[in-house]
């Protein structure tokens, strides 16, 4: 239960940051926090109190935790890193073109000009 509360609050904090912050870097941090929350949630779905690693081995007769969520989270972490790096690269690109990373200012600049210089 603890895990679920922690996971959901992490997701909540992340989404709150994404929705309220204008700074693109902060938005990406928010996404990253939400991702961590989701990963924790996934792990806790497969968690078993007192369970061991899901490896077939002699002498390990205790109940095992579910390996599928772990595999899923491993994948999700890797994907999250890749996406975050790519998003940061795009933020650098935004900074280069607009001179700011504040989303509202960027939007204002796009709306102000006709944007045909793309």
């Amino acid at each position: 239960m603890m895990f679920y509360i922690a996971a959901l609050s992490l997701i909540g904090i992340g989404l709150y940051v994404v929705l309220t912050k204008k700074n693109l870097v902060k938005v990406l941090i928010g996404i990253s926090i939400a991702d961590s929350g989701v990963n924790l949630l996934l792990i806790s779905v497969g968690y078993l109190k007192g369970g061991t690693a899901p490896i077939l081995e002699k002498g390990l007769n205790k109940p095992m935790v579910d390996p599928v969520p772990q595999a899923l989270v491993l994948t999700a972490i890797v994907i999250g890193v890749a996406t975050l790096a790519l998003a940061m690269a795009v933020v650098i690109d935004v900074k280069r073109h607009f001179g700011t990373v504040e989303l509202d200012k960027v939007i204002k600049m796009m709306r102000g000009g006709d944007g045909s210089d793309a």
């Binding site: 997701i11 992340g14 989404l15 994404v18 693109l24 938005v27 990406l28 996404i31 939400a34 991702d35 929350g37 989701v38 990963n39 949630l41 996934l42 779905v45 599928v68 969520p69 595999a71 899923l72 994948t75 999700a76 994907i79 890749a82 996406t83 790519l86 998003a87 690269a89 795009v90 933020v91 690109d93 935004v94 280069r96 073109h97 607009f98 989303l103 960027v106 939007i107 796009m110 944007g115 210089d117 793309a118």
Partner: protein, 471 residues
């Protein structure tokens, strides 16, 4: 059996091998070799997927391919349906046309990365069409999304940077929702195999957690499938990103997300009746919003972008309705959308001062008529099926709304057609190859009603998705 050769895993494996060796092709023979290898790969994959589609016709419930020899539901499986195989063929075909088109794009540097991203986008969406496992579906979704972000930002212009960052933020939040949806599903059902989940769900029933899971899947795929209000990134991307990439977005990532929604909503969850109304209204609002916005656009590419959202909305309505007729409609509308919008986008990148180039006038006519679903085109039958399905289910208000906004669509498409038709410019011969090829394909489709047993194919396409007891 020679047919056993047509194993889609082979396509995925070969494509991945070639993508990751892309820098080596470039080092060996420069940009030209990287391009040539990609062209050959796409052509091969197109033909190969035709073979796979043919093989899939022999398995009415879909062909199950076990990966690594593990028995389902423990191992990952591909569930190759005729519908998925056809869409996958179209992805590789459009990718082939796009890379032919991209040979004239000298400003895309580094070119090997560009080709690699095009391949990954086509590969990821093909995977989404073919997979039968939700974990696998998630991985392919992310491959597609990452490739789409990369392609979207590739030109490093002002507009692309702005459009891409909005796209990434929306898609990433959506991907978090997708994972939560998967967690809920797995926590309740204990399986990620779609066919297994379908069976297990029948005993569990649509509990609160499952309803939440459906909603989160909707958010997760709504961004790529362009469902209102998650589609607000799309018009900017469609305006600024190169046209060959947009053609691939339309046939690849957007269709794949719609197909994933079909898999989840129809196949796994079996069209939950208590949420049906809501989904239909979301689709109708998407369609209506897109058509109204498209009507007021000053730029042709933005108008096309909104028109494309409208089509996505129709496909969403058809899928969500989930009856036999509606699924047939969804199948036809998807193909029509790929053909007509891709033609128009290829041309839209080459419009001069006075209109579209003169040497692609016939494709232009085909594109426009296809986009508004006129009679000889396949989209017409799709729309008729959709109307029939809505009427049969008794949704008369939605019937009227769709008819009404289709008229809006015809109105602005006609306006754009008139202003573009009289152009005198000339489109680069290499570039004009892509719209002309697509035009030939959509012309060939005119004769489909005369082919015997064509209706059987349509039945076959939707067979694996039909639920017993649904309308």
């Amino acid at each position: 059996m020679t047919l056993k050769l047509f194993d889609p895993m082979l396509m995925i494996g070969i494509s991945l091998a070639i993508v990751f060796l892309m820098p080596i092709w470039k080092a060996l023979g420069g940009k030209k070799l990287a391009w040539a290898v990609s062209v050959l790969l796409y052509a091969f994959n197109t033909l190969f997927m035709i073979g796979v589609a043919y093989r899939a016709t022999l398995y009415p419930e879909g062909l199950i391919i076990k990966i690594g020899g593990f028995k389902p539901p423990f191992g990952i499986v591909l569930h190759v349906t005729f519908w998925g195989a056809v869409l996958s063929t179209f992805v590789w075909f459009v990718a082939f046309l796009s890379i032919m088109y991209a040979s004239t794009r000298y400003d895309a540097e580094p070119a090997d990365v560009y080709y690699a991203l095009l391949t990954l986008l086509a590969l990821g969406s093909s995977g989404m069409f073919l997979t039968g496992d939700i974990f696998n579906l998630f991985v392919f979704t992310e491959i597609t999304a990452l490739a789409a972000f990369g392609l979207s930002a590739f030109m490093k212009k002002k507009g692309t940077a702005y459009a891409t960052i909005k796209y990434i933020i929306m898609a990433e939040v959506a991907s978090a929702f997708l994972l939560v949806a998967i967690a809920l599903l797995y926590g309740k059902l204990g399986t990620l195999n779609m066919l297994d989940a379908q069976q297990t769900l029948k005993t569990v029933g649509m509990t609160g957690a499952m309803v939440l899971s459906v909603l989160f899947f909707l958010v997760g795929y709504g961004v790529e499938a362009e469902i209102f209000p998650l589609n607000l990134w799309a018009p900017d991307v469609y305006k600024y990103v190169p046209e060959e990439v947009i053609a691939l977005f339309i046939s690849g990532s957007s269709k794949a997300a719609a197909f994933a929604w079909l898999r989840m909503w129809v196949m796994v969850f079996g069209v939950p009746q208590k949420m049906l109304q809501t989904m239909l209204w979301i689709g109708i609002v998407t369609f209506a919003f897109a058509e109204v916005m498209a009507y007021s656009q000053k730029s042709f590419r933005r108008a096309l972008g909104y028109a494309s959202l409208g089509q996505a909305g129709l496909v969403f309505v058809a899928i969500s309705l989930g009856s036999e007729l509606a699924l047939k409609a969804a199948f036809l509308l998807m193909i029509n959308h790929i053909l007509s919008e891709a033609i128009l986008f290829y041309i839209a990148g080459n419009i001069g001062e006075d209109g579209a180039p003169a040497n692609v006038r016939i494709p232009l006519v085909f594109g426009f008529l296809g986009a508004v679903s006129m009679p000889p085109f396949i989209g017409f039958w799709g729309k008729i099926f959709l109307f029939m399905a809505l009427a049969k289910a008794g949704y008369w208000v939605m019937f009227v709304l769709i008819a009404l906004f289709s008229i809006v669509e015809i109105a602005y498409m006609y306006k754009w057609f008139i202003s573009l038709y009289k152009g005198t410019g000339k489109m680069d011969l290499v570039r004009s190859f892509s719209p002309i090829m697509l035009t030939l394909v959509s012309f060939a489709m005119w004769f489909m009603p005369f082919v015997p047993k064509i209706m059987d194919l349509l039945d076959l396409a939707i067979k694996p998705f039909l639920q017993k007891g649904v309308m």
